[in-house]
Amino acid sequence: EDLKTEIGVSSIDSVKCAYSPSMYQHLHSLEMEVQNRPLSGYMEKVQNCISEYMREVLVDWLVEVAEEYKFVSDTLYLTILHVDRYLSSYTISKNKLQLLGVACMFIASKYEEICPPCVEEFCYITDNSYMIEEVLEMEKDVLKFLNFEIYTPTTKNFLRIFARVAQENFKSSDLRFEFL
């Protein structure tokens, strides 16, 4: 409760922030919906071909791609969230994991970016391991699975709010994103 009011009060521009408390509440309720969250321990419970190490390699690679294309950080966070949500429900083989990553990034970039790269670019960055048709098919699969519920708050959304509340003058807040 305190936090909610503080988000509203601590803003520099009270006009613009008139909605912050209700937006925060909305984000919070979205986050609490179980269907929006990945299953904890899905690697043991659901997957049998891939390992945590392979996910780590995929995420590292996605971070690089996001930097290369100068994506907003929201795109990257959404991508990884969608990968985890998909993997919480479906088993996937080793050679399709990167395809899933690329398709999730394709969707997230369409949602968040002003100029999302075209599907050909996404094939190219995988060293053409996958065909355009495969990426498009995976895109459809993921969207059907997510039921178009693309927008789920990510760590980043909350971090922005908390960092903002904690640092009234916001002069030294560059550090915070280094940790994620």
């Binding site: 988000i7 803003s11 520099i12 521009d13 006009v15 613009k16 922030c17 008139a18 909605y19 912050s20 209700s22 937006m23 925060y24 909305h26 984000l27 979205l30 907003v72 929201d74 394709f106 969707i107 369409k110 949602y111 968040e112 002003i114 999302p116 075209c118 599907v119 050909e120 990426v135 498009l136 895109e139 459809k140 969207l143 039921n147 178009f148 519920e149 693309i150 927008y151 959304n157 922005r160 709010i161 903002r164 916001f170 807040s173």
Partner: protein, 323 residues
């Protein structure tokens, strides 16, 4: 809820088309309920098939977050059919036969203007508290349900979600496409026309102001012009040319052109601006004029919010139990 198989529509029964989007009137086979079916064409902007259109992803995602709500069009489902081996996506909505524009043509009396703008503001406040910027509010993206006499906001194809909190250091701020080219130019706020990249929720409030004036006047407030510079001069001719004092940074936007500065619309006082606006909307009373001028404020950060507008003195004699 129903899937595509249970909806049938007649391609000759086209109810609306905008850009390349076409909306058909259809029927749900199970319930017999009328529905609107919006077909989203392939994204052919890059000359090749690019999968699912970004506007479809955004519209459906946003509608899932916003509906059901009494002032937001009810979204039912999406389905996909094959068209020449390519998936053609459709969005199914509730069917509403009347747009606000059609209603305005029949002339609205002042009490109805008040009731409808209150409903519109409630709907917009709902979008804004879910961090959605509509970006294309106009008298055709707002529909009217004759039975309940309620408006419903539709047309979320150009909407975006914005992040909170606002005003964080520039580099963490999301930027958006400068200007929203496809949106109806008559309702575009000056910051769109000036190609700003950092607009926010307040942009919708300008459009709401234009709609409010249109309802009270019975006609569009700012006629559509062919380019943004002439659209801006149309606005300036009514509200005066904005100065750096009104809106810091206004002359440094990339859309700001010298010919705008040369225009002789430099009203010396706020009263003169109100006079000129009043001449355009003679039917509005003093409170209504005050609310309208707060919506049509140049500086986006000084524009009234939807939430605040709902508490404005203009609505004090509105019977809120009969909305």
């Amino acid at each position: 809820m129903f899937s595509g198989r249970e909806v049938e529509w007649d391609a000759s029964n086209r109810i609306w088309s905008w850009e390349k989007n076409i909306v058909y009137k259809g029927k749900c086979k199970d319930t017999g309920e009328d529905v609107a079916v919006k077909q989203i064409p392939y994204d052919s902007s890059k000359g090749k098939f690019e999968g699912i259109h970004p506007n479809l992803i955004r519209e459906v995602t946003i509608l899932r977050r916003l509906s059901p709500h009494q002032y937001i069009v009810q979204f039912h489902n999406t389905f996909c059919v094959n068209d020449n081996k390519r998936p053609l996506w459709n969005i199914v909505f509730e069917y509403l036969s009347c747009t606000l524009k059609q209603l305005i043509k029949q002339k609205l009396d002042p009490s109805n203007v008040k009731r409808l703008i209150y409903q519109i503001l409630s709907g917009v406040a709902h979008c804004h508290s879910h961090s959605v910027i509509h970006r294309n509010l106009n008298s055709e993206s707002i529909l009217f349900e004759e039975n309940s006499r309620r408006i419903k906001i539709a047309g979320f194809g150009l909407s975006r979600s914005c992040s909170i909190p606002f005003g964080v250091e520039e580099k963490f701020l999301k930027s958006y496409s400068p200007g929203v080219e496809a949106a109806d130019i008559s309702y575009q706020p000056p910051e769109f026309l000036l190609l700003s990249e950092n607009y926010s929720l307040s942009s919708d409030m300008w459009s709401v102001g234009c709609i409010f004036a249109e309802m009270a006047r019975g006609d569009v407030l700012f006629e559509a012009n062919s380019c943004s510079v002439s659209q801006l001069s149309e606005i300036f001719s009514v509200l005066g040319t904005p100065t750096e004092a009104d809106w810091a940074g206004v002359t440094s936007y990339i859309g700001w052109e010298e010919e705008l500065e040369a225009l002789d619309y430099n009203f010396t006082s706020k009263d003169l601006t109100l006079e000129a606006l009043k001449a355009k909307v003679p039917a509005l009373d003093v409170d209504g004029m005050d609310l309208l001028s707060q919506m049509l404020t140049y500086n986006p950060s000084e524009r009234i919010t939807a939430k605040k507008a709902l508490d404005h003195a203009y609505f004090k004699n509105l019977d809120k139990t009969e909305l």
